[in-house]
Symmetry: C2
Subunit: 121 residues, 2 copies
DNA sequence: ACGGGTACTTACCAAAAGGTGCATACTTGA
DNA sequence: TCAAGTATGCACCTTTTGGTAAGTACCCGT
């Protein structure tokens, strides 16, 4: 009587799940900066050079709805909001570290491969 | 006299570099299966359910040009090709493990967040 | 000669992701 | 009152990514 797939095989493996959370052009950069401590919106925007308001807000909202980031509105007279990592976000950053390390170690190879592809197109 | 950025700030951090290698709808799944050993094209296609020829080949080519995957043409009478991870690819898989673990641990939370977003749209 | 299998390649399209720029509501300082 | 700053929202458009379906070149069994 069992259906072929009785439960949700949404993710093939943990990595697959994780990628749904951190993929997005600016997300890794955002968590990277946020890992240094709470940051105001404008400050973050200046840190993540090249990001547009739309993208920054959008990605922050997604990270927030994923429970990675916390938005704090200080309810002050001149609008003041800042963003920080939740403990969940911090655990993500921990798990990312080896990948960061791998990327750092092979940065040049990765860049070279990217260039090769761009050139041969 | 120094320019603002004298050298290439292509990646903000290692993770950023890594993501250029593993992001792509089917890449994590591909390396996941390949981690179990060399696999023939057709076999891989049957494993990664739902992938089209175009996508499988495309992503395999990118992984190959990034040095993650190795293509072996056995030059046999009935066409026979298989794919496997290079040592570089294996090192990537190693670095991915904590992220896999994180994803496994919080799979439900991630899925729930995804559903929330899908529903509220 | 035909149908089927292997390993791709190609053209065409739809959907998702990302970018640009203007608009808002509120503030402070000149 | 007007410009400027903070933190967004929104409409529109382009780019990138992914999907569908067909075709190729080769081989094999019947």
């Amino acid at each position: 009587m069992a259906k072929e797939n009785s439960e949700t095989p949404r993710f093939i493996c943990g990595l697959h799940a994780t990628l749904h959370v951190i993929s997005g052009k600016w997300k890794p950069l955002i968590v990277f900066f946020l890992n240094k401590g709470p940051t105001r919106y404008g400050e973050l925007k200046r840190s993540v050079r090249g990001v547009s308001d739309k993208m920054l807000i959008q990605q922050l909202k997604e990270l927030e709805s994923d429970g990675i980031v916390r938005r704090t509105d200080h309810g002050e007279i001149p609008l003041r909001v800042d963003y920080s990592l939740t403990p969940f976000g911090t655990s993500l950053v921990r798990a990312m570290e080896p990948l960061c390390g791998w990327g750092e170690t092979y940065e040049e190879d990765i860049a070279a491969a990217m260039d090769r592809r761009k050139t041969s197109r």
